[in-house]
């Protein structure tokens, strides 16, 4: 079966021949009876529902839980492809950390004229409290998700950097568990790199960043969640469980004797490293949003005086900004002295007059995103939008051009999904997960593949009806 069209299909080449990475899988797939595969497909859903791997959708009924659809055809990457991609990721993540350090210290990159100062001034994720402060171990982004898209055999682009609080890693792990449960024979036929020690690596990576106040012994690590109604609560509980860390909410925490402490059944106990899944804004009502009940009053003071490590560091969201993104090639070069191994997608900054004019002339062909947006909200996909939608978006764009960037509609690669009618190509992206600690940069082989389930759709976000796939990196 061929994907056809101009998109790069990762399973089949233009003549409908199976690409080498998928050869063994396809041999296996073709040998399975159709009704057995159909049954397995239903089983997968049941298994996710039973384990409670759900997420809540904002704007829907309160506390409504949904499953992220899972597709049982794996997305396969060869060892050679992965080596190249992971080198590029490592370089980028290294640059991101140097960049964040520099932004909150001497701002050499601004002094050198390589980054306009206004990008920091207008950046709502910028935190004045972080200026001059160096987080424990010098690490800003303990956990990073780099969103990649593919357009050809050797062409991977970075679509987005998630340095704030990347989510989805629990799906990467559960997708693999589900696949191994459903198709054990596949894994005995094909050597796939393991992802299952991610929680252990995360625990180790966090424990390597203890604050100065740490008194020795085993560091106490806790995961801070906004609570059971949060869309990613399942993931927070999952990671805490797998790491053997406490899962805490703001109401469990209090500043006692210069440390952030949690209320246990035998009294208050200090936390050394807090993996927080609460946004900066809600972290400390004394420093940021005063109405927040999700955070801990005074935690920023404790942080700055060395009483706790917060992962990721407050203020890292600066780097998630899409206007900053457009400068990433310069940023990588500035801090590593190397050419970026992974290119950016071409990006027009609508704050520039010339770019804005180009974008307005070509709205129907472009993807326009909010600078601070995420999750696929508030964006325009020109080619699939109606004239009315485009006209409405044009007004928003003219009103606040600096709030937007635009990118070409990429010919995203496809990977087949399982449908009742057989395999059918759908667009995919990839979010590898990266751990950063003083011991080094650790990239889990593969990551989370998100897939647009509607034919022709380019939107892979789970909040917009996207699904996920297990991602295999083959062993050499």
């Amino acid at each position: 079966m061929s994907a056809g069209g101009s998109n790069f299909d990762e399973m089949f080449d233009g003549d409908g021949r199976t690409r080498p990475a998928y050869a063994e899988y396809c041999r296996w797939f073709d040998a399975q009876p159709g009704d057995w595969l159909r049954r397995k497909n239903r089983e997968a859903d049941d298994s996710f529902r039973r384990t409670g791997i759900t997420f809540n959708v904002y704007g829907e009924n309160e506390a409504e839980e949904r499953l992220i659809p899972f597709d049982m055809v794996p997305r396969i990457i060869t060892a050679a492809e992965w080596r190249k991609v992971s080198r590029g990721i490592e370089q980028r993540v290294r640059a991101l950390n140097s960049f964040l350090y520099d932004l909150y210290h001497r701002q050499e990159i601004v002094r050198a004229g390589r980054l306009p100062e206004r990008l920091l001034r207008n950046n709502s994720a910028w935190l004045a409290n972080m200026v001059g402060f160096t987080p424990p171990g010098g690490i800003y982004t303990h956990i990073v998700g780099i969103d990649l898209v593919r357009t050809g055999p050797d062409e991977f682009f970075v679509l987005e950097d998630n340095a704030r609080t990347p989510s989805g890693v629990s799906y990467m792990l559960e997708n693999r568990e589900t696949m191994m449960g459903m198709f054990p024979d596949l894994f005995s036929r094909i050597a796939v790199d393991s992802v299952s020690n991610y929680p252990r690596r995360l625990a180790r990576s966090l424990a390597a960043c203890v604050p100065p106040a740490f008194t020795g012994g085993k560091p106490t690590v806790a995961v801070l969640t906004p609570g059971t109604y949060n869309s990613a609560y399942f993931e927070h509980a999952f990671l805490a469980d797998q790491m053997g860390a406490e899962l805490v909410e703001g109401s469990d925490l209090r500043v006692v004797e210069g440390r952030v402490q949690m209320r246990t059944t035998s009294g208050y106990k200090p936390i050394d490293v807090l993996y927080r899944r609460v946004d900066d804004d809600y972290l400390d009502p004394l420093s940021f949003n005063p109405t927040s009940a999700l955070g801990v009053p005074g935690i920023m003071d404790v942080y700055r005086s060395g009483g706790i490590t917060i992962a990721n560091a407050p203020g890292t969201g600066v780097a998630d900004d899409k206007a900053i993104y457009s400068f990433m090639p310069e940023i990588v070069e500035f801090y590593t002295g190397e050419r970026p191994l992974l290119p950016n997608v071409q990006t027009w900054r609508c704050a520039d007059k010339a770019s804005l004019a180009y974008v307005l002339d070509n709205l129907a062909e472009l993807v326009v995103k909010e600078v601070h947006g995420s999750g696929g909200y508030g964006m325009l996909i020109g080619p699939t939008s109606s004239k009315r939608e485009i006209a409405a978006f044009r007004e928003k764009l003219i009103a606040r051009p600096s709030n937007y960037i635009a990118q070409p509609t990429l010919a995203l690669s496809t990977c087949p999904i399982y449908t009742r009618a057989g395999l059918a190509p759908r667009h995919v992206d990839l979010r590898p997960f990266v751990l950063v600690s003083p011991e080094g940069i650790d990239i889990t082989p593969g990551g989370l593949t998100r897939v647009a389930l509607q034919k022709g759709s380019l939107v892979v976000n789970s909040s917009q009806g996207g699904g996920t796939k297990d991602t295999w990196v083959l062993k050499d």
Binding site: Y233, D241, L247, V248, R263, T265, S266
Partner: protein, 314 residues
């Protein structure tokens, strides 16, 4: 362990126990209604509502006491916030809160049964379905307890969960006994007199003790024997004595883990001192109702002390 997590485990198992006990109460009433005349049946449904403390809420929504109305009200009535569907929602919500301290087996048993029951209780429960629904509720409890026994680490979380189970169970058995006693035995002179054995069997059935009681007593049904069985027989897992023993063990284990005792241990010892030597005759002499009211309030006080001693709330 976090105080909030301990609270989650405690209430997860209280609600689980409450759902199961409520199902048993309804099952017993259902059987009664099927085998007796209309008047007795109505009295039985009325006593179910009274035992569950729902009289006000029920009467605000309904005029008569027929089975269909009562069980739908108890199981899923929108004007009854403490309905069984909501109880199971609370079991699951608390299991999610305590997710990092329960095994996957326990979580899956809770989640699986919640999905099943939530669907079963989404629509009115008719005459034909009610037996199946009540059985499913009871089996949910059995499955969760089974997963719990087979897979949970015996740390403090285990003991908080069990404390919740036995606090709730003791509360339920005492309430059922008190209500029936009040209805069936208006004056002390009835003790030992010939009784409506069907009604008393009903009491036993509500706490799943009918078969074992008649096996132990060769089918002899009498008030004194039943009260002795439900209050003092520490072999029967739903008797007050059994629940008190089990609770004592949980509290002792918590004291060992923490290396210190709290107010709940003081209260437990007090309860033991005044209750452990009692005979059924002494209970009847002083008044069963008074005894049960006292037991209920001691039980509630221990529950409050556990929450305080182990910092369930900030």
């Amino acid at each position: 362990m976090l105080g909030r997590t301990a609270n989650g485990l405690f209430w997860m198992f209280r609600y689980l126990e409450r759902a199961e006990n409520t199902a048993r109460l309804l099952e017993a009433a259902l059987r009664m209604a099927l085998t007796r005349d209309l008047e007795t049946a109505e009295a039985e449904w009325r006593s179910v509502i009274a035992t569950l403390g729902l009289r006000g809420a029920y009467q605000a929504a309904h005029t008569g006491y027929d089975g269909l109305a009562v069980w739908n009200f108890v199981l899923r009535g929108p004007s009854n916030p403490g309905n069984v569907r909501a109880m199971f929602g609370a079991v699951r919500a608390n299991a999610r809160i305590a997710r990092t301290n329960i095994s996957s087996d326990v979580w899956e048993a809770v989640n699986d049964n919640w999905m099943k029951l939530d669907a079963l209780l989404a629509r009115p429960v008719g005459q034909m379905a009610v037996g199946e629904v009540l059985g499913a509720i009871r089996r949910s409890g059995t499955q969760v307890h089974g997963a719990f026994d087979g897979s949970m680490l015996r740390d403090e979380g285990y003991h908080f969960a069990r404390a919740g189970t036995f606090i709730e169970r003791k509360d339920s058995t005492a309430r059922i006994l008190d209500m029936k006693y009040f209805l069936l035995l208006p004056s002390l002179s009835y003790v030992g007199s010939s009784l409506d054995t069907g009604q008393w069997e009903q009491v036993l059935r509500s706490v799943a003790g009918a078969r074992v009681y008649s096996w132990l007593n060769a089918g002899q049904i009498e008030a004194r024997g039943i009260v002795e069985f439900l209050v003092l027989d520490d072999r029967f897992p739903r008797s007050l004595a059994f629940c008190r023993n089990a609770l004592r063990e949980c509290l002792a284990a918590l004291a060992r883990t923490h290396g210190t005792e709290g107010q709940c241990h003081v209260l437990m010892r007090k309860a033991d001192a005044s209750l452990s030597q009692l005979t059924v005759d002494q209970i009847f002499e002083a008044g069963l109702h008074e005894y049960l009211v006292d037991a209920l309030s001691r039980n509630a006080a221990i529950a409050r002390a556990i929450a305080q001693d182990y910092r369930f709330h900030s």
